[in-house]
Symmetry: C2
Subunit: 126 residues, 2 copies
DNA sequence: TAGTCATTATTACACTTGTAATCCATGACT
DNA sequence: AGTCATGGATTACAAGTGTAATAATGACTA
C-alpha cells in the first residue's frame, strides 16, 4: 500500500512540480526553474522547500554544503491522493458525476477523445 | 458569465451540500441534517454558516426572528469552479491527463462506462 | 586574518481554517 | 415582572499558508 501522502498546499505544489520534473536540485536551481512561472522571492521558495522537507514530502541531501532536494513521492501518487480527496469532497465520492460534467463541457480534442474511447474499450472488453 | 465563486473550504462544503439539498433552512435544520454525517458541535456549524454568509456564498433571510440560510451559487457552478482550479493545480491544466489516469484505475461500472462512451460519441459526431 | 558573500537557519506576521465557547438580547413561562 | 432557554453576535485560539526578512555561519578573497 502506498503510505499516506501528507497534504501539499497550493504553493508547495509548484515547487513539487519542479522537483518532479528534474531532481535533485539545489534551492537556486528551483528558483531558476520557477522564473516566469511563479512570482516569488527566492526566500519564499526556500521557505516552501523547507516546509516540504519538514513534512517529509521532500528529501534533502546535505552531503555537500549546498543542499539538494528531491521528491519522496511520485507525482502520480500525489495526484491520485489529491484527486481522491477532491472527488470525495466535491462530488460525493463518485467519479462518474465529475467525468460526465466535465466531458460534457470541456474542450477535449479529437485525439483526446479517441484516447479516452480506447481506454473505455479496453476496460469494457477485459 | 458566472461571477467568481469565492473559495469554499472543506468543512464549509459540507454545509453547502446540506443547503443545496434543501433550502432555505435554519441553523438548527442544518445541524439536524448533519447528524451522523459530520461530527460538529452546533456552535461550530453556526460559525461555518456565518463564515459562508460573510463570504457571500450563502444568503440569510432575517425577516423572521430565526434566520434562514440559502445558497447564492448553484452546486454545479461551484463544482466547476473547484474542479477547474484543481485541475490547473494538480494536472497542469489539462483535463485529459486526469481522465486518463482515473479511468485507467478507477472502478467504473459498465453503465458508467456506457454513459461516458455515449457522451464521447455525441461530442465526436457533432 | 578579517571582511564579504552565499547559504542555511530562525523569526515574522497576517489571513484562513477548524473547532468551538462566551456574552447578550428577546421571547416564553411562572 | 423576573427568570430561563434559545438563537444570534462576538471572541478565542492553535495550526496551516502565503509571503517574506533578518540572523548566523562557513568559504573564499583581499
Amino acid at each position: 500500500m502506498s503510505k499516506n501522502v501528507p497534504n501539499i498546499s497550493e504553493s508547495e505544489w509548484e515547487i513539487m512540480k519542479v522537483l518532479w520534473d528534474n531532481s535533485p536540485r539545489t534551492a537556486n536551481e528551483v528558483v531558476s526553474s520557477l522564473q516566469g512561472k511563479a512570482d516569488w522571492k527566492p526566500k519564499t521558495i526556500r521557505t516552501l522547500l523547507d516546509r516540504l522537507t519538514k513534512k517529509k514530502v521532500v528529501g534533502v541531501n546535505k552531503e555537500q554544503r549546498i543542499y539538494t532536494f528531491y521528491p519522496l513521492y511520485a507525482e502520480e501518487e500525489c495526484q491520485r491522493a489529491e484527486t481522491r480527496s477532491f472527488i470525495d469532497r466535491i462530488y460525493g465520492g463518485t467519479m462518474k458525476s465529475m467525468l460526465v460534467q466535465f466531458m460534457e463541457e470541456e474542450a477535449l480534442s479529437e485525439e483526446d477523445m479517441e484516447e479516452l474511447r480506447q481506454i473505455l474499450d479496453k476496460k469494457t472488453s477485459k
